[in-house]
Symmetry: C2
Subunit: 242 residues, 2 copies
């Protein structure tokens, strides 16, 4: 019953295998587990995260978990209520529109920068690979994989652009929440249009056309807003404190 990955602690000698993978602290592993768990659907927005349950499940101490939760709360991924615990954040309609409004200028900047700096075959290859990966995952309706690929697409875009502050600021994890709430219920047509957006952005970046990349992102966001407007109202929770 217990997860078998509780080792690496009492081991006297340090196995080289463990040394390779262990650049990560326990706290970081926990944060990763939760964020990727959101993309994978293991954790859903609004879900309560009792400390005792999570520490047991991940085999870590309470202190480490609390550090990780503080980190995630700062990123807006979980919401901490004093004496009531941690919840996976939920986005109501208002927050979602605000989020899109905020993310759009950042994404446009990222696209412009990427287009300006996409000057090697290696970068072009990575950009194209990221876009293609989204397409494949999207067509296969592989939700978890799609969200991972989408995240990777933005990461690649930002990395090629070369602005390290942008990576810190872009609220990608927060949009993962939005996607997690929305992905399962959008229509096929909406999905297809959305997927096409990424390809168009990538094409403009690879063509090293900043203005076109900017426009492609704008268009992409317009489409996303349209999708949100067409969603049934019950996708979004009424604003409760969570």
């Amino acid at each position: 019953m217990r997860p078998t990955k509780k080792n690496t602690r009492a081991g006297s000698g340090k196995t080289p295998a463990a040394a390779i993978t262990d650049a990560e602290s326990v706290t970081d592993r926990v944060a990763d587990a939760i964020t990727s768990g959101i993309r994978a659907g293991t954790f859903v927005p609004g879900q309560h995260l009792p400390e005792s349950a999570i520490t047991l499940r991940l085999g870590i101490s309470r202190g480490s978990l609390r550090e990780a939760l503080k980190h995630l709360a700062a990123a807006g991924i979980v919401t901490l209520n004093r004496f009531r615990g941690a919840y996976i954040s939920t986005l109501d309609l208002r927050s979602t529109l605000d989020l899109l409004e905020t993310l759009e200028p950042l994404a446009r900047l990222a696209a412009r920068l990427a287009a300006e700096h996409c000057d090697t075959n290696e970068k072009r290859r990575r950009m194209k690979a990221a876009a293609d990966a989204i397409d494949v995952a999207g067509r296969n309706r592989a939700r978890a994989e799609y969200l991972e690929r989408r995240r990777h697409f933005y990461d690649t875009l930002v990395e090629i652009g070369g602005n390290t502050e942008l990576a810190r600021v872009m609220p990608l994890s927060r949009t993962d929440l939005f996607r997690a709430q929305v992905e399962r219920i959008q229509t096929e047509r909406q999905r297809a249009l959305h997927l096409a957006g990424y390809s168009r952005i990538a094409a403009a970046v690879i063509a090293r056309d900043p203005a076109a990349a900017d426009r492609a992102v704008q268009r992409h966001f317009a489409g996303t807003r349209q999708t949100v407007a067409e969603l049934p109202a019950d996708v979004f929770p009424s604003q409760r404190r969570r």
Copy 2:
């Protein structure tokens, strides 16, 4: 450092609206103490924050401090080096320019939104008060106060704009770092030009002219970039692992 203790005892009655739960936790107080300490000059970029020293100084437990540090690290205010501890983050020239490039579109958005929503006398009054406060503090060369007022100006701008996600994303604390490094050495002329920028932004917002507000922010950032370009090179550290 003055801990703000506002204990709104909500008793038994259940308020239907979302005005809820703000008691200050120790962790939050620590985070506040460090961020405001940066603006006040108590903590300077690059400074090491040994856990034992800080816990002693603030009279808190190590666990609470570590939670606060994780929060601050997520915001980019402190940098954590495994087994080496926490440092107040430093911005090299590259990071500073990246930061300005990232902040600018967000500030422009904030200004546009504020201009669109500045529809009551109360909001106009607050906007003007925030701008005037910067001016006073700036002229008096009161560095700590100036940085506080500047922060308040942006907070007001964002709040009037009404986009809650923007408040979460804008890297204002990170720019406090930049200001803390730069403020003491910019020339009088640079300072005066900079101060004028805030007034101009406020004026456009109060006039409910989004386009003008947008332009005012653009101009403001152009000036800031100019100031950075004129700074002596030794203001910025060579990128070391901190």
